[in-house]
Symmetry: C2
Subunit: 499 residues, 2 copies
């Protein structure tokens, strides 16, 4: 052993133990070692300002050191302004080291993370992993015009001033009217996109232990919010016709107080609940006294088929969430909640606590973009583009994904794929990335079920030729992993996924 | 008695009691009364879809009604699609009333409010109640130019796309550099103003029961956030030299884990902590292992005297909050947190959960406004305007508020006033409003102390002549309420408020 572990301890007036580990063989003199040790006690807060250090004679005796060594260490600290000697009274701590000290124990101080990593992103891949529009479709000229009109209006000054927690009044008025189903008993709150709408509703409706029923697979940003709040989550299975009614009934019987549904083009499955089932859902939820939150951010991106009535139109108690993120500009955080007045009153209070109000300039830009007719024109373009992309998905899937089960959505941005039996979408992802394609594995969207055989293909942000090429590559990866031979006819068998 | 209260009850298969109150003298036929009653049971969820109604004969017998009356009521419900008859099996509930039904019990479903009303606003008053800049000082031309430059850049398309939770990268980089004190161990998160910065830190650091020390009087938006989280609040007294060190020590000894301070021009007191005290605060907090959050949103509005070092410059563990709301545009929600990496990592996760990210366009506008030199120019203008307004406060206060105690701030937007003994600022407010002046009473800013004798005058949003006239009126109201004679000399005695 080359170092002396001092076995004796010396105590300050506050009974703080002084027990340095000094290395006799070190090139660093002992007085400097002792000085550094005392400095660390001060830096860590083990020694507090006002604390008296042991007299040099006492500390030297206890540690088996020469008294001059201790005195030299004290002088060092005094020079650094950390202690101050007072004749006849001893030396007192009077400051903290100026240089950078050890950080606080942040891992203990911080609340636990509930976020889910999507794994590392890779450049140059055909990326099916983001449920968002292609920025190449953004109508930047029309948007610029809308901004110019707002910036040159006499409203600019007041838009830059503090606003109302509920949102920019003209936008609130416009959106209530545009929804086509707000009643006199309803009101509206403008939020920073739909994500904040759910966050505020969570704060308004969910206490620790509240039972919340979510579709499974589910958008993780939604799940994680409720997990963070300490809610008890109940996953409801999703079929090609949206939430499974038997699962819903089970959730309600289990005591679900809040039910969150995306009835049209659900993320991640693309599934839509038919009209008849919507009526049943409402009557079941109402009978159970459960609160229904209708996430309606995809319904305006309908590519085929008739639209089913929104849940909100079937029951005034439904809380409706909307956003421009999917049909216009996701980078501008603007969503809304339309709900009975008591709900809006509470979430508006919470909005004020959360961030006072949503950015006013953006609200005014989006309002101008909408009221000038540019939104409608752009939406038509987005629907046409979506149709074209969905067609590419359809053709390529029938040709290259014959081994998989999938249901083509009638709108939105996502397709759910079930791999052939025995394949795991998480394991397959590495191979897919190597081959040049990325997607999000089913596991990412689960609550209690593993969903390992499923995966999400988000097609809206890609060009049709990228979609075709990407699905072709994915098909090759799957067939290769599955060890099956290629089927030259590509017999299509789109069936219910996730039944 | 004109109505028959039926004393017999009939039960469904599920033992749901059917006991209508029928009015024999009503103009509404009995079958319609019974039909409405059954409809309400379905609407309320007392009868569930799938439930079987009692056979007509049985219900008629129990209620003492003619069987045709019951049959007619059932037919009514069947016509409305609420029940469905099945030969040999009976009638089953199959739907819910289409028309608007009673709302859910929202007051029970919603979490309790913690917000504080500032009371009704009145128009036409000289309003000292808002801590915000005057919109007449907004440099709208320079701002428009900045916006134009961004809107016409090739970055527009990507600004409208989904961004990063941490914020717009060039803005993050700029703000870290501008702060002048971020270290390699630090990182930054862009938030929707300082309010959201505190909200996210609360979610990262505060569990139910965590002890949080706040200055008292305190900005209510800060207090309410921690109350909502179930934190245990400890109020620290504020003197003319900022937080009282003895109060801080008591808070730390009581176990405060998080200490939130506004060292410069605190809201609502305007008080600033001197440099020497800042060093002591840091060593005390560090010794106690407490986390210090430094709310630095006012320090750039310094009108007089030298600047004290920011707490963050004294200890790398300090969490620093900044914002452009006070020196530029409050309606654009843009603030930031500079803190050690583990903290930023956690709050960035929470930011993503809360609203994905802050509006990107606004971040780019503010960045352009700052990097083009326009912010610096505007800030100089704001400081000049603030000086002028503070001078008006000073002159008028010395002349008209001689009965009160106050300390003139060296910057910021607020002055705290202590009324003569025995006067209550809440009670006085009504008189002040009648006389044409408004302010926020001390009670609004309290945690545990009543603060009834204090009030906040926010002067930054008013013109100098409004300030002079407003303080003159307030002085008259106070003297009148105090029953004291006017002091023609207006002997000034600015002393420490809230000692």
């Amino acid at each position: 052993m080359t170092s002396q572990q001092s076995n004796l301890a010396c105590y300050t007036d506050r009974q703080m133990e002084i027990r340095p580990e000094l290395d006799l063989n070190s090139e660093v003199p002992l007085y400097r070692q002792l000085g550094s040790y005392l400095q660390s006690l001060i830096g860590n807060g083990d020694l507090l300002p006002g604390d008296r250090l042991p007299p040099t004679r006492e500390l030297a005796g206890q540690l088996g050191l020469n008294r001059t060594t201790v005195s030299a260490a004290y002088e060092l600290l005094e020079t650094d302004g950390l202690i101050k000697g007072s004749v006849g009274r001893g030396s007192f701590v009077c400051g903290v080291p100026e240089r950078e000290v050890e950080g606080l124990n942040w891992s203990r101080a911080l609340t636990a993370s509930v976020s889910t990593s999507t794994g590392p992103a890779r450049a140059g891949l055909i990326n099916f992993s983001a449920s968002r529009p292609s920025e190449m479709l953004f109508p930047v000229e029309e948007f610029r015009e809308s901004c110019d009109e707002v910036l040159r209006s006499d409203k600019l000054r007041s838009l830059l001033q503090l606003g109302s927690p509920g949102g920019y009044e003209p936008l609130r008025h416009f959106l209530l009217k545009r929804s086509g189903l707000a009643r006199d008993s309803d009101d509206i709150l403008i939020t920073n996109g739909c994500q904040q709408a759910v966050d505020l509703l969570r704060r308004a409706l969910v206490r620790s232990g509240t039972k919340v029923a979510l579709e499974e697979p589910v958008y993780p940003g939604l799940r994680n919010l409720f997990v963070e709040a300490g809610a008890e989550l109940i996953g409801m299975r999703v079929t090609a016709e949206g939430v499974d009614l038997y699962s819903l009934r089970q959730a309600l019987e289990a005591g679900a107080k809040v039910v969150v549904l995306t009835p049209s083009f659900q993320n991640p499955t693309g599934a839509t609940i038919p009209a008849a089932a919507r009526k049943l859902i409402i009557s079941m939820a109402r009978a159970a006294g459960a609160i229904v939150i209708e996430n309606d951010i995809y319904s305006e991106l309908a590519y085929s088929g008739g639209e089913a009535p929104r849940l909100k139109s079937l029951d005034p108690n439904v809380i409706l969430l909307g956003s421009f993120s999917k049909i216009a500009f996701p980078g501008m955080r603007c969503g809304w909640i339309i709900a009975p007045r008591p709900v809006i009153q509470r979430v508006t209070e919470l909005k004020q606590l959360a961030d006072l109000h949503t950015d006013q300039l953006s609200q005014a830009f989006l309002l101008r973009f909408a009221t000038s007719g540019r939104l409608e024109k752009h939406q038509a373009k987005m629907i046409a583009a979506g149709k074209e992309r969905l067609r590419a998905v359809e053709q390529a899937s029938r040709k290259y994904l014959a081994d998989c089960r999938f249901t083509l959505p009638g709108g939105g941005m996502n397709l759910w794929l079930d791999l052939p039996d025995g394949l795991d979408s998480s394991a397959l992802r590495g191979l897919a990335q190597q081959a040049g394609v990325d997607y999000l594995p089913g596991r990412f969207f689960s609550i209690t079920r593993p969903l390992d055989s499923g995966l999400r293909l988000s097609f809206a942000g890609l060009e049709p030729q990228e979609i075709r090429r990407g699905i072709e590559i994915l098909g090759e990866v799957i067939r290769s992993a599955n060890g099956s031979k290629e089927d030259p006819d590509g017999a299509s068998r789109p069936t219910f996924a996730m039944v």
